[in-house]
Amino acid sequence: MRIAAALRPKQPRVFLASLGVLVLLAAAHAIGLARGRFDPGRGLGLAFGILAAAGYVFAAAYPWRRRAARLAPARFWTQAHVYVGGLAVAAALLHSGFVWPHGLVDTALLLLSGWTTFTGFLGVWLQKGIPARLTEGLRVEVLLERIPELRARVVAAADACIAGAGDVLRRHYRQELRPRLERPHPALSYLIEVRAGRDRALEPLRRLASFVAAPDKARIDDLIGLHIEKLELDAHLTLQRLLRGWLVLHAPPAAVLLGLLAFHVFSALWY
């Protein structure tokens, strides 16, 4: 997947504005450092902390975007979640003064911030790259929940195609091809190339065409078409699962991060 193309911002002006805010924050930090000793609990350090906390809370409110539909459509909240979340991490780093924290909770906060940000950008990369690859590289378009049903249809069509075939083709189909058609074969290689492994998978059938009679050659062409369809279903299965599954890496740690943030704020206020 071309990383640069996948990460190209949808709203360049928003991206540039966010970069501008980042530069301003960094400039403010530099000015604060130049003026005296930096303290995360006071003055500029505290301000960065409050900004970071507000940013985290805003980003965590993303699941409630439908209730805010009257204010703005969902794509606005998605953009806001990404940019505000990114700026919140920057503010958290500035709040820490780029010093490794003392204590378990603060260390966990920093690590979780990093992990959530990393998985967040991973999600952006996947969500930008996978749809384009699915659309450009594959003929079929399927709902994830219907893939088992469609795979069963491919098998049924292949069974019907093989009826009346010669011994050689029938044996190959029974021993080699049908097991491959029946079961899903997701593979992470589809993330790199949606047609990964296609030629290798079809090679045995293509070679077999040299050893069969003319009617079976036509059957082989049909079986190749069905096998390609099945391979495309595997690609869809892998990539659509990734599109949904990456959230497992992002959302639960983000929830823990929010809990630790609440503890951190409470302890800072109490003590």
Binding site: A69, P73, A74, P131, T135, E136, L143
Partner: protein, 489 residues
Amino acid sequence: MSGPVPKEQLRQAYEARLRLLVPADVAELARLPLIQLIPEKIRPNVIGKIQKYTHFLDFAPGQAVVSAGEWSDSVYAIVRGAAVVLEPAQEAPWKAVMRGAPPPGPAPTSRPAPPRVQTLGVGDLFGDRSALSRFPVAATVSAWTPLRVLRVRLPALRMLTAVAPELKKRLDQRYREETLAHQLRRVGLFAEVDEAALQRLRERAKLLAFSPGQIVAREGTLADSFYMVRGGYLKVSVDVGGADLAVTYLRPGDFAGETAILLDERWPFTLQAVEHAELVRLEHEDMVAAVGDKPRLKDRLWDEALARLKTRGVVARNPVASEYLQMALETGLVHGESVLLIDLSTCTRCDDCVQACADTHGGQPVFIREGKRYRNWLVPTACYQCTDPVCLVDCPTGAIRREVSTLEVTIDAPTCIGCSNCATRCPWNNIVMVETGSVRKDGKPEEVAVKCDLCHGRAEGPACVSACPHGSAVRISFKDMAAVRSVLR
């Protein structure tokens, strides 16, 4: 105001009507004056073909045969009795007369008729203009006495007008006298034409019918006629390097040829009927006589010719847009006032659109994220909100309707009796029957029809579009080709 009619009563009334909607009896059909217009030699054959599209219907005095504003695909011929034609303003006084009227007498003159209504008797026809032009019914026609009519659906009407010149002449004359002048006035070109000239145009206009795929005018040939679309759709295409590229399409009320014939040019494009199309044709000499002496007209026409050249250039440089228009013509998207499309190159298949749809419609989504795919665009199974919603025809309870001057075709669930007429009639299978969970008195599961209604009443508009986190779901109308080209790049 009376309360809503119980659903069970609506269903029984519909099923009683359904029992009567059997194809007309052949022997009874053959005796009708309307059928007698068919040449005797081919009459039995034609009757055999049209029988399944014809039905005898009976109405009690006061019952409406067709109501103003509804969609109809049929012409009605009065077989026995009398009917009245009521403009919308006359309906309330009419109903008052009917409520106070004595029991029906043997003849219309046995009771005083309300003022200023048109009465129809045996042999009269009505409903032809809304059936052929696919516009809503203009006026209510109600039974004045016990009324028997022959209902002739559009496929049969087309066959009859093709084989019975007298019938075609009669229907054309009605259109010519009552509707054509009004439609011509709506063409900017004729806005300043005086009444005498308009009358001449009306008399000399030819009313033609074209089958799907038939060429109306070919690019490069001499433009000797002006065409106005009365019903159906025409594709406008240009030949670019041997490829036939669709540029735009013409709908009822649209027209073509005025520039070419008044500037003595050849046809700059090809016109082809996409479906059954009814056209009005004016010849070259009639056009010139009507508008040829208008001083500012030629300047305007030159501007239009230049605009068309620009459009042709745009199409030639961007044939993909033409491909989408061709796709829209073939799949029926051109009929849609608001078509949902999903950009698969940015859609993350999260189903937020479907979830938002379900949340807006009581847990039942009214569209399916599956359908035909064109390049990177998916056309989901969601109502197109057609300009000419054929699904409205034959709804026995009026549950599916479009309010005047609105876009949305909506279904009122409490009134829907689940007959599935709308679902059957939809050419694009965009209406789905779902079980409500209840059981009818006959033991069958109760069903209602569901379809996209553009989230009618929701301030933010369609939930599917506003809920998409990546802006992949869009709604477009193929009426605005410039907008289509900018969206479907």
